[in-house]
Symmetry: C2
DNA sequence: GTTATGTGATTGAATGACCAACCAAGATTG
DNA sequence: CAATCTTGGTTGGTCATTCAATCACATAAC
């Protein structure tokens, strides 16, 4: 069955890519890991890049972190993120890796850019809700989301680069920082 | 002269790597860009990885952001970072790229890990100074530094991936968040 | 002052391996 | 029987690394 092999290839690609890295994994490796012939990969995916992007989107779908709304939802999202950092290092490794690759690969770059924009928009929604709950000016929501999502990305990076990094501590600090920021009706410098 | 060619190779490598990316640049490319013979690169650098790490360290030396101490120094560092985001996208591109590569390359990974730890330690120093100025508990300095440095990394990532990203806005938000965090004598959840 | 000798710098070709993408032909399915 | 799926070999190119040979130049010997 076609969609079955497609799935097998996607799974094998994810496993191989997160284990060995984009540049160390060949189409042949992926085909072998999936137990199919080499040519099949290019039958189902136009190029290595398209395959990798398909893997990325597949993985992202399974890692949604926004389970609730408002302040509660924000706090839940941070908690969910902490769990994901523990349970899905493979997905995060792939993600960070592709960010790097995307800087010089148009196709992958476009996919990553779109993904990052979407994620940031989710955070912005949440920030807007939190600000609304406190009847605060919603204007800085975009800036706050940029900084918070940056923190999330950066924590991911540090955790993947350095297993000894205390990610829980960092997420808690980021959560505290972001919530104390929306609390203070600030007249910043 | 020997140290001269070494320098030429380093500069050519930086130019080529930041322009085309690690996996798209061969030793031969770098040698051509430097105007030297292919073999010379391996005469001066044991491997491609060692060359790349030498480039990274060289670049980092020229990008110090910590020009002052205490709260003033922290604010200055954020401002310096905003300038660097505008003026040295090439260096940041290389940096983020190498983070990705380092996830599956032992040598480069070790270099990057060391670098990230050092940077985070600098931020922690600064955080400790800020907390001391306000006579606050210095215990959370490490966590704050983790989150702040994460924010810096994440802003870098977003800016490099997406030229339309408003980095200034994000840095300002991060600065406000981090300073408001150390102000509030928080009893966080 | 001129010939030997040593040393590091430099060269470019060779090695051995790898890869993405393509393709022609066989298998399976509806 | 077509359309879709699958196979594995081929193509035309890439790469990091090694290496024997050459070079510039200095120090020392005669």
């Amino acid at each position: 069955m076609s969609s079955d092999t497609r799935e097998k290839i996607l799974q094998a690609a994810f496993a191989a890519l997160s284990r060995d890295g984009y540049e160390n994994v060949s189409i042949k490796d992926i085909a072998e890991e999936a137990g199919v012939a080499q040519g099949l990969v290019h039958y189902h995916f136009k190029s290595k890049q398209q395959l990798v992007l398909a893997v990325l989107f597949e993985v992202c779908k399974k890692m949604d972190v926004y389970t609730a709304e408002g302040t509660e939802g924000a706090m839940a999202a941070f908690e969910n993120f902490k769990v994901l950092l523990r349970t899905r290092p493979d997905a995060h490794t792939l993600y960070i890796q592709l960010i790097g690759v995307g800087l010089h690969d148009k196709e992958i770059g476009a996919g990553i850019r779109e993904n990052i924009r979407t994620e940031r928009a989710h955070v912005e929604d949440l920030a807007r809700q939190v600000l609304a709950e406190r009847e605060a000016d919603p204007t800085p929501a975009r800036a706050i989301a940029s900084a918070v999502w940056a923190g999330v990305l950066g924590i991911m990076v540090q955790k993947m680069v350095d297993p000894e990094f205390d990610a829980d501590e960092a997420v808690d600090a980021l959560a505290a920082m972001s919530l104390s920021a929306v609390s203070s009706t600030n007249s910043g410098a």
